[in-house]
Symmetry: C2
Subunit: 234 residues, 2 copies
DNA sequence: ATGTGAAAAATTGGCGCCAATACAGATGCC
DNA sequence: GGCATCTGTATTGGCGCCAATTTTTCACAT
């Protein structure tokens, strides 16, 4: 594996913490994959993970199996596990699903939102804005996640929030690349405030339009990334 | 267990077949849970599963872990795995998500549907209708699944179809109970034909209304099923 | 030098055993 | 007679080892 840090950040911290050691390892690996520390197509050798994360073999295998279920890695019998290569078509499908889910939740959001919720969303948007000049990309990413997670949470359906989180985590390697463009981040920042404004006005239509644009904007430009180490070739 | 044979039927055959033994076992267990063969709250003893399905201990553990991830069973350390008790609130949330997803896919469906697709949907609706008098509940269930799966598939987003399948599988114990009512099955049958009609007319609004009603109709009447063996008490 | 073959090293996958823990029943005490 | 405790048992969970398979290396022949 490439030059990942020691603790591998575990910045995700998603779901509920404290299920087991294997769960923590799976989250750490998932974070490493989405952060780009583990390249697409790279083989995940059990021994390397075992040594790198100081984990037992069983936990490694369990974590890898969990990542297979999350569709973040693929498994070939007697060959091993490898990171899935980014599939533009799959990513587009997942984005479309996200659009449906998040715009579909708008009605419930607008119906249930209170003034204090609007104020909190305003605060979250401002937090992202404050992090814009000096914050790291990871900080911005987390602030963005917090904003959208809280916004979605207003619909009162925790399952929907969890589902969208899971979907976001399944977009392969899209987490790092698209955020590097400065102009795009600023665009996102503006859209955040526009969303808060639409939320304050209880304007469901405007909020839908904004969310759709916000999600669909995150497409990668290059449709065919060449020169990847393909794991399927043998 | 109901009238399952030796191999426990594996009637679902969902997702893609042939990942491994543990995957087949997980699917079999999931089917047993949804069919009501394994009662809510019941403890899933590894030895019983091992003997019942003639599986190795490792496969049992892997399958159970997979079901934990699917949220069909819960795990308490050093205590074991038990079937989740049906949570009406959770089921309602999942139903709401399904409504959002399936109605959200209607636009794409109407935009992409061809006449031959309409004809096929008509055929699937007739298949359900033909099974209505003499077919078993499982047959009806499968025909219903086929109808909705094919309808959703018309939107051209395989990920969305997979997601809805997964969601449907996560509605706890709702699969068997509500289908026992004859009038409800006939109502569903009528709605199938109404959906095909709306599909033929490319009437997105009507299709949305029908799908919403079709999903939301499947609520359980009894909000508090008493007398279950609660696994949390200790 | 290059392609072919086999041997060797590395990696994965399976399986069984044993300790840790929880459950049940019996026993003793109040 | 009821209750607490103790012992026996069943079940879970962890750990390591070994076989099966793959990948690499290396020698050899063309």
């Amino acid at each position: 594996m490439s030059g990942g840090g020691t603790g591998e950040t575990n910045r995700g911290t998603r779901t509920k913490s404290g299920e087991g050691r294997h769960d923590a390892l799976a989250n750490a690996l998932a974070g490493a994959i989405q952060a780009g520390a583990l390249a697409p197509g790279e083989w995940l050798k059990q021994i390397d993970i075992e040594q790198r994360y100081a984990a037992k073999r069983m936990d490694v295998r369990r974590a890898l199996d969990r990542l297979v279920q999350k569709r973040l890695v693929m498994h070939q019998p007697n060959r091993g596990y490898h990171v899935v290569k980014p599939d533009g078509r799959l990513a587009q499908e997942i984005r479309d699903v996200r659009v449906i889910l998040e715009t579909g939740a708008v009605d419930a959001i607008v119906a249930r939102v209170r003034d204090e919720d609007v104020a909190q969303m305003q605060r979250l948007a401002q937090r992202f804005d404050a992090l814009l000049p000096g914050g790291t990309i990871i900080d911005l990413h987390d602030a963005n996640i917090a904003f959208h997670g809280r916004l979605l949470g207003l619909c009162g359906n925790p399952e929907l929030v969890l589902l969208v989180e899971e979907l976001r985590g399944r977009i392969p390697s899209a987490g790092a690349g698209q955020w590097q463009k400065r102009s795009r981040i600023e665009q996102s920042n503006r859209e955040h405030f526009a969303m808060v404004e639409a939320l304050a006005a209880r304007d469901a239509g405007a909020l839908r339009t904004l969310i759709r644009a916000h999600i669909l904007q995150q497409q990668e430009e290059e449709p065919a990334p060449v020169g990847h180490s393909r794991p399927a070739e043998r």
